[in-house]
Symmetry: D2
Subunit: 337 residues, 4 copies
């Protein structure tokens, strides 16, 4: 921590130094031409408390120095993490496309979609059984029945599936059925839920909150990992900005940023990231070029009948075309499906 | 719903009309000079599904017309709601100050703060027993012990208390002890939690998410209310913007906007809203002037030792001064403490 | 400047020290437990160049310490600045309401509005002769004719007027006619224009850009002041955020923040800040409570016929009511109209 | 325009209909189950004025239907525009890399950089002679001398150059020397400047404002084009969001969105878009994959000595590597340098 003094009063400076020492750190003073700056040296772990020194007289600002994530960061683990789900591998050179409908709507819909995306080359089936919806009056998902239908689709196609878990008490049931546990964007800082999936034995697919920084995403991964579950897949799915032409603003620069800071695989969701089916293909290609380890894409056999997210879902034919078009990009990137 | 056509092709228009009718609505076509627009007339409740028509050929945009909240909205209940907590009343002319530390840190700290804020005129004690923290390595609250200390503070001072509940399974325990159940900003769209407190028999203090619109806040209130709990207090606590000089951007225009759209009481939290203790007093007064029904303010006997949020907490003396300074503003606003 | 090293390599550290010394500063090293931090001590003025050290190997971040504004800041001038425009005073205890239509639309409209706002207690007439419009096909203002009509309105009522100047070459003409030169939000970083009004002999009304931080607003004031014109009035008029219910998000916390950092008067524009006439009154009162030195309010005799901004303009009766309602707030704030 | 009524009062509805007809449009009423909606049919050009109907009693919202840009839009010109600058072509299959230092700092620096970027395959040299800087005390550019040095670099290498013009009166001089006139992000809505370059005979390179929507960027292109200059190159260079880890958030989804709405070429600037040299290469590749027609990249022979933007500038070796790495991406995209 660096404490920037607004005042040049020696009493103010002395008070800060005493407080730093009380907290167990060594104080290190730099007398600048216009400002005095005090460094606090010592174990970084508890330094967050030093932020409270901002309330002392004469203190202008407290500036943190260290990145606060350990398990998710590259400093302690330099090589890329690869996550295995059955025969599927994600990260460290292996690229994975997760595709399927926004919601599981019925037996026929999910089985048909599973076959389509499998055939086109997807490695994981996606589909919501529990749906977080802005309105309590909207369709909330088929719940446990949805899990059974996803299982049926897995049996029929061999595709493992990822599905969202919304509350800590659902974790046990979902873990029993699903291959990957998804934490949705709205729950990225639902810390009770993060801790619960941190104790599960299935990989966690962690979506960035729509107003969360890259650092906060990594801190949420740290919550999961600090409970023992090291298999976390990060997902960029668009952030909220002033632009209304797209549903969210897909922040692709988060991909190389996350790869620099963390060893975890990074997947991009261009369906939620843009909200328009006709932007999905160009942004999927751009995600590969930016260094992503996978894609999550909404596919629906009849988007105009979809219970949710119809406007951003690809039709089967368009998804097949996209999968073909991705191949040369993956080749340049040196990744294999 | 209004469907704006990008194409003038009659087949495209006919296809949309057929689909609207299939969904059970009447289609109403307006031929404009450059655009054709189709209105869908019928029961508003299921109209969200019409959004999926955006995936049909020739459709440019689907524009929703109606506000989707019912119980939280002013259309069905015109008069202001007043919420009672013991002898304290909030809303419809009664103003309430909720004050106390960010976290319950120990017996002495919470009892001392409770006495201070009671004496200065606060109506409700605040204090976190369960703390949502960005880092898993930060202090996470005293948990159940914190609830017992808050109860002790209530017995000593007579002040009812509000405290955060973070997971559905905590609701039963917290409900047993606390007078008001707080839903934190990060949990505003934790729908499982919203449903759970919707079945509790204590008022709910619902903080606006830092990434949430006023409409989404009201939809989250609707989640609670649709489960049967009509006692919801809305709280504006700052949204996330590009400005970094303040911790958040306190959106005071949300106060009159919420009062226009909803009958529920609206409380403002200038401590989190600004992140700096010296901005708390001016923004507290501004909140009264903007029409708020209450304030939530962080007070700590020794902010420089606080486990969390020290830089935005008021010292006892400053809180007393603020309470005095608020009085003439409340008088003009026609509200009583 | 504080240079945070990501590497612990001594060569990297030495290279940074050499570079700091080359730039003419003294380097001051703090060896932390996990990070090395290097302070650069010396004249703050040229330190912006040290930012480029981020491109050296092993450097993680460069953190600036000092506020970069001098003339606009409180450090060199502690007491509030009061600006005089004819018999009108703004700042340092004197409150000023600037009111009038968005655009000057014709002789009758501006004369009628001037009489109405004068009678209700406004101190300055506002009205656009040159209009910055998103579309080249929208009404662009009456231009020079508008200036003459504003002059006529001044002669008829005695009210000085503020009007926007959009390009450096307009400055001479507008300066000749107007009492205060307005720089619109879109031009807050039009540096050529800022320098030009910095050489004018009329006060400058500087609106915060919708994308600009409080620090950038002060830097733009610094541009004007560094050319010799010290009479700058700052204006908060709403920033752009994800919230779409209001036209902009009025950032009232900018008022106490600006008052803390700067001695210049601060005016709030709740008309542009909210975009809805029914939010203007509550936000105007809140602005007074937050410590503003004035208000800019759009008033139109017939908003439904306005060429621009009709939806946010007050009708005469509502403006009169607001002026009455502001009085007790001004009294508490210790300010006089 | 669609006028959404909040009231069901027939008088309110009649008043709106009368007003619509007064403005010269036909009113078309849809009686919904809970809302009445009124369409205004007629020439779209003047419809912005109908927005003022929001101030009429009973009106809840006025929703615009049409895209307001004509010359920049795809509706009137379906095929991609290709812009020629000497022997260089941009758009419609031809890809162009514009590279060079942020600022022209001296003869040797600009000549050396020009040779480096030419050799590596850039088609256009970039370099600022007039620099928009947040602080009046920062280096403001070499101004006219900078233009002469850029000319010298063109003579030495054959590379045409793009350079920023900041005020209307600079346009004549810059037009005389430069090959492409750049409008910086801060000036995207400097309408006087847009009109001036709209009368120039050189192509305009128009950067998106950091808080401007895609629609506003196209409206600013419309300003230039409506004055007669149809050669506009659009540039995405990052928008301002809450994320602070990157300097801006590069909105790559703007590329396919702009290509859908407009026929103009779209260039991406990953240097300003990210602010970190190590994010430039991945985002440059992603831009190609997203469909961009060109790149603008900052290159400096010695970034650590740069007067500005050193931390986001590529060293010569890294730029050469990037140019090599871009080739396979361009091949897949079917574009030629």
């Amino acid at each position: 921590m660096i404490i920037v003094m607004g005042s040049r009063d020696q009493d103010d400076v002395d008070r800060v130094i005493r407080k730093i020492e009380e907290f167990g750190y060594k104080a290190h003073v730099i007398l600048g031409v216009e400002r005095t700056v005090i460094g606090a040296v010592g174990d970084e772990r508890g330094k967050a408390r030093l932020q409270s020194l901002e309330s002392l007289p004469g203190v202008e600002r407290v500036v943190p120095i260290l990145k606060p994530f350990k398990l998710a960061g590259r400093e302690l683990k330099r090589e890329d993490t690869q996550i295995r789900v059955g025969s599927v591998e994600i990260g460290a050179g292996r690229f994975c496309v997760m595709a399927g409908p926004c919601s599981v709507e019925g037996r026929e819909q999910i089985l048909e979609t599973a076959r389509i995306v499998k055939e086109a080359g997807a490695g994981v089936l996606r589909g919501g059984a529990y749906k977080p919806r802005t309105s309590p009056y909207s369709f909330q998902g088929l719940e446990e029945e949805g899990l059974h239908l996803l299982q049926e689709a897995r049996e029929a196609t061999g595709l493992p599936f990822v599905t969202e878990v919304m509350t800590p008490e659902q974790v046990e049931l979902v873990e029993e059925h699903a291959d990957i546990l998804q934490i949705g964007a709205r729950n990225m800082q639902n810390f009770g839920l993060l801790k619960q999936v941190g104790r599960a034995r299935k990989p966690v697919f962690l979506k960035r909150g729509m107003m969360s920084t890259v650092n906060e995403l990594l801190m949420s991964a740290e919550y999961v990992m600090s409970e023992g579950n090291l298999d976390v897949i990060l997902c960029e799915r668009g952030i909220r900005t002033f632009e209304t032409e797209t549903r969210n603003t897909l922040d692709l620069s988060a991909v190389p940023m996350l790869k620099k800071l963390s060893h975890l695989p990074v997947v991009v969701d261009p369906s939620h990231g843009t909200g328009h089916w006709d932007l999905v293909a160009p942004m999927a290609k751009a995600a590969v070029a930016a260094g992503a380890d996978g894609l999550m894409i909404e596919v629906h056999p009849h988007p105009e009948d979809a219970f949710s997210d119809g406007s951003q879902s690809l039709k089967p034919g368009r998804f097949r075309t996209l999968m073909e078009e991705l191949k040369p990009f993956l080749e340049i990137a040196g990744k294999t499906l």
